[in-house]
Symmetry: C2
Subunit: 336 residues, 2 copies
Amino acid sequence: MKRISQRDIARKLSINVSTVSRALRGLDGVSAELKRQIERLAEEGGYRPNPFAVSLRYDTTHTIGIIVPDVAFSHNAHIVKSIEAEARKAGYMSIITDSNDQSENEKDCVELLVNMHVEGIIICLSQDTIDFSHLERLKQAHIPVVLFDRVADVGLSSVIINDAASARVATDCLIEGGARRIAFLGGPNQMKQNTDRKHGYLEALRQHNIPIRTELVKCHRISFNSGLTDTLELLSLPEPPDAILASHGLLAISALQAIESRGLRIPDDVAVIGYMSDWVSEMSHPRVSFVKQNLKEIGIKAFRLLLEQMKGDDSVQHVVVSARLELRDSTKNTNQ
Amino acid sequence: MKRISQRDIARKLSINVSTVSRALRGLDGVSAELKRQIERLAEEGGYRPNPFAVSLRYDTTHTIGIIVPDVAFSHNAHIVKSIEAEARKAGYMSIITDSNDQSENEKDCVELLVNMHVEGIIICLSQDTIDFSHLERLKQAHIPVVLFDRVADVGLSSVIINDAASARVATDCLIEGGARRIAFLGGPNQMKQNTDRKHGYLEALRQHNIPIRTELVKCHRISFNSGLTDTLELLSLPEPPDAILASHGLLAISALQAIESRGLRIPDDVAVIGYMSDWVSEMSHPRVSFVKQNLKEIGIKAFRLLLEQMKGDDSVQHVVVSARLELRDSTKNTNQ
DNA sequence: TTGAAAGCGTTACCAT
DNA sequence: ATGGTAACGCTTTCAA
């Protein structure tokens, strides 16, 4: 019930706490005999150092904070898991918070983590974040921050994938498969991630001299329903698309359903490529060809960047983890 | 950079820390004028109470621990999210740990959380946990524990769904759809959850006077691959099943793929019902009829049970959150 | 209304 | 080899 402390052990042996402290940490300056006794009592009493006392003493919490839009979404969950594992290895605890993809909550998460005295924060921004004052405040307070996936140009270190290039490659692939009217299903335009991917898509069209049709570009709030609505609209166009590049797993899955609901075949009538996790692609039907992101690597890199900052390095670094196209059954190509 | 403390404020105003403490907490015994000054300095300096000092003082951490087999799996992620939200409302931080569905790691997680001095732990056991000594130790240490989903008869409070009944209803549904050779795809038999569901399944068969065929019951380690292997084996039987009840999302999805790979139709050749989250069912193809579990409710109930214990109530309670069948496209029935 | 001091558990430093 | 003490930031109790 009540936890045993060094003082308790000291009292039982009629010795001083400082001796207990030394013994328990294996420092010398304690006779072998006494050390044995102390260790036995600690063992019996189930002694655990009180991490709060230690934190207080050293003025260091060995804790980091993580903010994601939705931990329950496969992509984020895997990255969080990876960050957590890497942090643990380095002796850091992780506090995971969820912004529900809303900027409002995101600010609360920052507040919470700052209050908890975390030593650093890793953030994937909400899709509606346009005001970065909370990030500015972190910077001013010299709290290490690393952004990943959804980043912003605010002078903070970041880990992203090669968004533009991967979108270009994906679009190339669709073109090679014979598609000429390729739609882009993305998120809000304030997201740099989205504009980068869109630019990659547009660049591929340009290189192949395919005219850009603005009605084929749908950039709204990312959600299953908006993906469904947008795709149905696309399919109702006088000249509907023969391929869709979806920049988020939710959008890709909703596109699949919309296409199927219209009785169209994938990939014959409409080909699809999406950004998603292996598991979501594996589960989809037909299995969606996807931009495979090394989620584990993203997590590892993000934590390492944070660690450097926490150790005093104040350089701003941008890491790009390259993603590659994985062909499954929603595209016509079979090469690679 | 350096954080401002009450002492800093006190020094600037040449007053005592205790006065600052009282002012900042809105206790009376501080003149309005002085209080104003203190609050202004606190505001300016971005003062935050040091949670470690507070924890040390009150001997209370306001922190709970959560252990799940895999946070990246939709079902668990949603429950964790719910627990976390409910805990936050009550002023508790959550430390989320992942056992990777291995008993070995699960013990490490318990160790970690105990070291962190969490006030209570909510656990979903690993599928291979057969030794409960770590739970026993928690009980002896009077650390509040609540099990959910995968529980054990070790005298600890728990939150589960109506496993047996839901499996019986699901099996009934398959029978009503015309199935006579129904397979059960489950997890290891040491899991009470699994045996309960299996019993529900068997009971339904018995009630309908359908002979029990042991070759149709596959209870192995839960994984995508084992689900695939088991289903392929089932389909290779001289008399293959005409329906499958899968007790886990991974197993259901792998069954779908196995069935499809054999060129069989769902639900006409083989009907399927699975235990899974809404999102996994929604994403599957055909959309799997599923036992819908109120994940949010499970999380809320689990935390509330824990909270009661943390407040001193030492009664062991077992809560059942009832799940219901949701029909989609992998079964022939259209009623309900 | 304000101050002084003790204490939470731990560690570092200095003394013995 | 061991003890004593101060300090981390905060709250509480008692005294002024």
